[in-house]
Structure formats: C-alpha cells, structure tokens
Amino acid sequence: MARIMRFASTMLANLFKPPVTTKYPAEPIDFPEGSRGHIEIEIDKCISCSLCALNCPAGAIKVDRVKGTWEINRMDCVQCGYCTIKCPKKCLHMMPGYTEPEKEKKFDLFQRDPAVMEAERKKKAEAAAKAAAAKKSLAAKKAAEAAAKAAESPAAAKSEPTKAEQKPADQA
Amino acid sequence: MATVIPFLILFPLVMACLMFVIRNNRVRGVAAYLGSVIVMIGVGVLVVQWFLAGAKPVELFIETEVADHVILASEIVLMVVVTCLCFKYKKYWISLLSIVPTLLIAYLELFGPEMEPTYHIYLDHLSILMCLIVGIIGGLIVIYAVGYMHGYAHHHSEFQDRRYYFFMLLFGFLGAMFGFVTSSSLLWIDLFWEVTSIISFLLIGYTKSSEAITNSFRALWMNLLGGTALAIAIAYYAYEAGTVTLQQLVFEGSVGSNIALLPVVLIAFAALTKSAQLPFSTWLLGAMVAPTPSSALLHSATMVKAGIYVLFRLAPALSGRTSGLMVAFVGGFTFLAASIMAIAQTDAKKVLAMSTIANLGLMVACAGVGTAETIWAGIFLMIFHAISKSMLFQDVGATENTLHTRDLEAFHGLIYRLPFLAMVQFIGIAGMFLAPFGMLISKWAALRASVDERNILLVFFIIFGSAITSLYWTKWMAKLLEQSRAPKVKDITKLNEKISLGIHAVMMIGVCLLFPLLSSSYVDPLLREMFGNAEQVLPTATLVVLIVIILIVFAVPAVSMAFGENTRTNIKPNYMNGINDGTDYGFISSYGEVQHMHVSNYYFAHVIGQRKLMLPSQILSTVVIIGMICVILGGVL
C-alpha cells in the first residue's frame, strides 16, 4: 500500500551520516590505474611515421616529418586511445589526469632532438645513396633494406627528450 | 415628498410614452438625456427633502381609492398583454402563470375582505438607498444607452432597429422600480413586481432572434412563478390578517406569529426567483442576449436587487427561523455553485452574469441569517455590487462595440489597446474582490456574522466561495495586463458612454474612501431602524488600516512606475526555450513556421462548466427548497 513520505526515514538517517562529497579541489583526485586522461609521448622514441596522425579519429595529432615535431591539440583529442594502439614504436601512452580547462585552446608541441634527426637523416641519405648505387643489383637492394631497418630503432634510444614547448594559440 | 414620489413613478412613464412617439434618433437621444437628468434630480430632491424631514420613516397615501383602481386595471392589462404574447409564440401554459395570480388579486380586491386603511407608501433608509441606486445608476445607464444603442443598431443590422421601443421599456422600468421600492402595500408591490418582470421579458426578447425568444420566455415563466407565489401570499395574508401592508407582515413575522409564516416563506420564494437564485439561475444567464444596457440595469444593478430588497425587508421575520435557514442555504449554495461555474465561462458577459448570481446569493444568505451584522454586510454588498457591476457591464458592452467580441481571450492585453476601457474594467473588478474595496469588507463582515450565528454551512460556503471568486477575477485582470502584439484599436466609445463609465469609476473609488462615513452615518441608522439597536460593525482600527491599504494599492504602482521610467532597463525577449522568432510574440514551431504565442487562461469548461454543474445544483437546491417548505408547512398546518 502506498504510504506518505516513505523516504523520510532515509532522509532522517542521512542527516546523521557524513556527506559523500569529495573534497575536490581541496584534495587531489585519486585516479584509478588505467584511467584515460590524456596522451603522453616519449618523443625520443617517435620516428615521425605519422601513423598516429592518420589514424586519430578526431584528427588531433599533427606530425611534421621535416621539422620532427609532434603536436597534439588537447582540445581535439577525445581520449580514445587508438593512437596508442596504432603507434608502431609504442611511444604514445594514455595517462590518467585530464587536461586543465583553459581560456585558450591548448596545443602541445614536442620537438624531436635535432641531433638524432640529423643522424637519422644522414643514415637515410646514406641508405638512399646506397640504394641508388645498387639500384639494379639484387644484393644491393637487400642491403638497403637492412640499413633502413637499422635506422629506425637505435636512432631514438640515445637522444635526450626534448623539452615540450607551449605554442600560443592563434585564434584569428 | 408626497409629490416627488408620484412624480418619480409617473414621470418615467411619461418619458416612456415620449420615447415611443419620437422616431427621430437625435431628438429622442436629447429627450432621453433630459429625462434621465430630471429623474436624477428628482431622486436628489426626494433624498434632500427626506433628510430635511429628519431622516425618519415616512408613511404616505392612506386614501388611494383611484390609484387602487388604476392599479387593478393595469394588472389586467398586463395579463392580457402576456397572454397574447404567450399565444403568439405558442407557450400557452405560461399564460396560466399570469392569469391565475391576476385573477386571484382581482378577486381579492373586488370581493375580498375589507381592509383597514393604512399607508401605501413607506420611506425609510432602505427605500431611500434603493431609490438612490435606481435613480443614479439607472439615469447613468440611460445616458450610456443612448450612445451604446447607436453602435448596436449599426453593428447588428440583422436585427430591426427598435430603439424607441427599447428606451420606452427602460424608462418604464425606472418608474416601476421607484414604485416598487417605495410601496408598502403588497398589492402595489405586486403590480410593480409584475411590471418589472414583463419589461425584463420584453427586453430579453428585444432582438427577436430565436435564442432571445426562448430565453425571454424562460425568464418570464420563472419570474411569473415567483409572482404567483407572491399573489398567493398576499391573498392568504389578506384573508388571515385583514391587511396587506408589508411592514405589518414583517412585524408579525418577527414576533413569530403563525399567520405570517406562510406568506413570509412564499414572498421569500418569490424573491429567490427574482434574484435568480438556484434553481432559477438560468434565466439570468439567458438574459445576457439582451442589449448590454438592459443587462447592466435590470439584470445586475437594480431589478434583481428587488428580490434582495424584499428579503432585507423580511430579514427580521426570517432571522433564526427555518425559512431563514432555507434562504441562507439557498443563497450560500448559489454563491458557491455560481462562483465555480463562473470560472468556466469565456464570455465576459456570462462571467458577469454568473458573478452577479453568486453575489446575489451572498446577499440572500446575509438576508437569510437576518441579523444586524449580516444586513450591514448585505447592504454594502449591494451598494458595491450595484456600482461595480453596472460599470463592468457597460464597459464590456463598450468594449464589445469596439472589438466586436466579448470573448475574454480577446481582451488579451487590452490595457495597451483600449487603455480607458481596460482601466475602468480594472477598477470595477478590483472593486469586486481586492482587499481595500468594499466587497471584501462585506465578506469580512458576512463571515464574522455567520460565525457569530454559528451557521457552519454558511461559513464554508463563504470561505470556499470567496476563494473561488478570486480565481476568475484575477484571471480576468491578468488577461487585461498581458502583453499583446495586437494593434492598438481605435476606441469608438462614445463620449456619453465614457461619461457614464467615468462617473461610475469615481463613485466606486469615492464610496471606498467614504466607506467609514457611510457606515456610521447611514447604514448604522438603517440597522437601528430595522433592529432597534445595532452596534458598530467595523472596528475603527480596521478602518484605518483599510485606508492605508487603499493608499498603498494606488500609490505604489504609480510611484514605482514613475521611478521605472528613469532607470535604464535592458529589454530582453521572453523565454521560449530559445526558439523565439526574434520577438516576444512567437516561436518557430515544429513544422518550421512562426507560431503566434497566445497564452490562454484556464477555463476547465469540460470539468466545471455550466453544462456539467448547473443541473446537479438545480436539483440539489430544489430538493432543499421543497424540503424546507414542507417542514414549514408542516409547522403551519
């Protein structure tokens, strides 16, 4: 049967229970492990292959192969994590902690170490030269392949991580 | 005085004939102005004379051989007229209601017992008050009618223009009304009673449309039924007591004489029909087809008050008796039921009619309780009601002439479109229920009195009834204020209509301000006259407070409006979920078109409409009336 004010007892009991409200912002947030907050990059591992940029469903990533930059528009990324799956070097990570609200749109720009890039470019050029030299020979072709493979992995390993630069948003 | 009273009765009759004769509209208009001014002056003279004579009850015309014959002859003429009309429209049985009582009265007068000679005219505070109401309001309405009927004839070309006939009836009515309120002889009263009934009947049928004819016959039979009861009462009383003086009857009734019991009940019954109490309320609603001046004059301000007047007179005889209980119950119940039904009305005139019935109910209830306090309340109800209803009816009529409709929904934003008429409506409605105005004070007194009398039913009726009353009035007022895109219309109200309305508005506010004075200097003596002694009903403290409220209600909006003019305000469009069409007045509908925004008031016509509630309330009140009459008859026989 229906009763009036069925909920009153719960209400009265609640009055003597502590509130469940979290203290945020006075206390920091306790993110569970694996919480999807933002993308971090180990820039020194990146090889500027652009796979992440191509596959990002929101188009948040820009990769400049020539300048060696990796840029993410924080206000475009939907934290789907697809780039972390797609990155061949596994240098992208989904980390807990969200991007802070801002008055401007926020871009994060990461620059690969120019030295490493230089080395890489050299190697590539060498490899290309070699490839060109041995264009018609099958053996030379195989060698070129091996060189290109070698160019990828050790290149990033040695270099120091470059400091991230904040690029001021242009909102014309 | 002995000349003024016959003048007041006869002069309008002369005017009536004159109206009938003059067929030039302009000339007739001028004559009507003159006539009404003279009537008003006449009333003024009467009042002054009476005050100079000491403001005491006056008894006149002991010997009236000739007049009696004239009266009898007139009754028979009326009977013939009614019978002819009934036969013409094939409502044969109604003619019986005219023939039987007339023959009864004629028999009584010609062959009845010899009656001791007494006065035929009696003037006291109550009659003077009635004279004032009839004279002033009646005069103003005639002035208004000249302008109104001009527009009416113009707009309603489908009906024959019979203004001469209309004005004849109006003046005839005024004369009859003066006769009615000053007469003391029940025989005279009976005649004037019949005359008002028949004029009302003729006015309702003025347009001769089929609806008008049906309604007019309904009004006729109901009123004639009351007339029959009156005639029976007179005959019975004459045979039992040998006199036909109202004052004598009331006296006997108040001391509890058995002879008076039946006549008092029958007369009260007659009064209930006249005041359109349940179960007889329908005739008053039907009467709204008549041109507005007649609604204002007959069907709200004066004629229906004839019933109340009689009941007030009978009050001492009703107080504390079964008959009083019956009257109080019927009145209270009518107040409640009519108030509820008023909510569902969309037609402004019908709302006014329903509210008239309701307020008459309250007055009837006051009379039924019949103590000094309730009569005090009843008198004030009557004064305020007469002024504000007459004003509202006239105003609605004028508005209708301009807008060509009297649907309340069409009054949307009237205050911007027809400022004068809307303002007058505003004052009139405020008078009906807002705090500082008289109606409310009367309710205050009525409530107190019914508690004093321990009449619990009446307490409930008043409490719930007034709660409901405020709903439909507030609704109406709010409608006037609502913002509207409709263009400003040209106010075609004639000057004379405006004059009448303006005087009414001034009277309304004046009576409010002079309220304490009126109470102490006029109504208190009236009560002393009726009940011997009566203490002051309204405490002074309350009165002072009242005055302050009046000042606030008028001053604050005015002052703040003046201030408001000087502040910079950002005008924003209304909230319409973000899809206004760019203005306050419309939004983009589901089909992508602009939908005009018009918020209608609530009416609940399907729940509490007249159709739904009228029959049950009629049945209930009939059962109560019949039951009570049986009880009373059981006591008599």
Partner: protein, 158 residues
C-alpha cells in the same frame, strides 16, 4: 561592488553533444561532486543565469538557439564550453551538419576539454568561470557608475 563570485548560477544547454558531457554536467551537481558547495545553482532559465555551460558543437539548427540564450542572459556573463565537441567540434567536426565548436557562434571564455569532460574538470571550469565572472562584474559596476542615470532603455543587446 559585491562578491558575486560566490553565487554563480548555471544555464546548461546541450548543443549537439552525445550526452556524455551532459550527464557529466549533471553529475557535477550530484552528491559526490556537489557543485552547490560553490554556490552553484542550475537554473534552466537564461534570465537568471550567469554562466552558460554548453556541451556539444554547433549545428545549423541550434546555432540561433545558442545565440538567443546567450543574448537573453544579463551581463556580466561567462560562457563555458564543456567537452571536446563544444571546444572544437571534436570527432564530429567533419560531419556535414556541424559548424564546429561553440566559438563559431558566440564568444567562449573557458574551454573544458575531455571526452567526456570529467566532473572535476567541469568544477575546475566553473571555478575559472566564476573568477572571470567576478572580474566582469567589477567592470560592469564601473560601467554603471560612469553611465549613471541615463533614462530610456537599451535595446535587445547583441
């Protein structure tokens, strides 16, 4: 000149969000996050709101709605775009019916990113917005002082 920042009232409008951000806005008001601690009230009526919280991007049909709601709010007012969609159009910005973020239609003051924006993030956004609200209120007071006593009325402001 009062401390208006203690009473920021919200108006929440769902532009064309996927509901994710909407319900997070709502969750912000519920016991666990309880934005009312900050004096927040969710009014639902632009006339009474100080902060306009928009989730989702702008499409052809809701652009005029957003504009109108913004216009109906009395100054000083702050606009907060909640969620990636509202910031830039996000994952849907290539859809044929999407114009882009909220800033394509009305000026946005605070961007709250996230898909869906977390309640804490929205609280951060509100805190930033109310500071801005306070600043604008002070400016508004100055304006009122310098333009005092002018009669007449301002037209519906754009």
């Amino acid at each position: 000149m009062g401390k208006v920042k203690r009473s920021p009232w919200l108006l929440h409008y769902d532009g064309s969000s996927c509901n994710g951000c909407d319900i997070e806005v709502l969750a912000t008001l519920t016991p666990v996050y309880d934005a009312e601690r900050l004096g927040v009230e969710n009014t639902g009526d632009p006339m009474q709101a100080d902060i306009l919280l928009i989730t989702g991007g702008i499409n052809e049909q809701n652009a005029p709605v957003v504009k109108q709601l913004y216009d109906q709010m009395p100054r000083p007012k702050v606009v907060v775009a909640v969620g990636i969609c509202a910031c830039t159009g996000g994952i849907f910005k290539d859809c044929y019916n999407i114009r882009g973020g909220v800033d394509t239609t009305i000026p946005v003051d605070i961007y709250v990113p996230g898909c869906a924006a977390r309640p804490q993030s929205i609280i951060d956004g509100i805190i930033k917005a109310r500071d801005l609200f306070q600043k604008r209120s002070d400016e508004h007071d100055e304006y009122e002082k310098t333009h005092h006593g002018g009669a007449g009325e301002e037209k519906i402001n754009g």
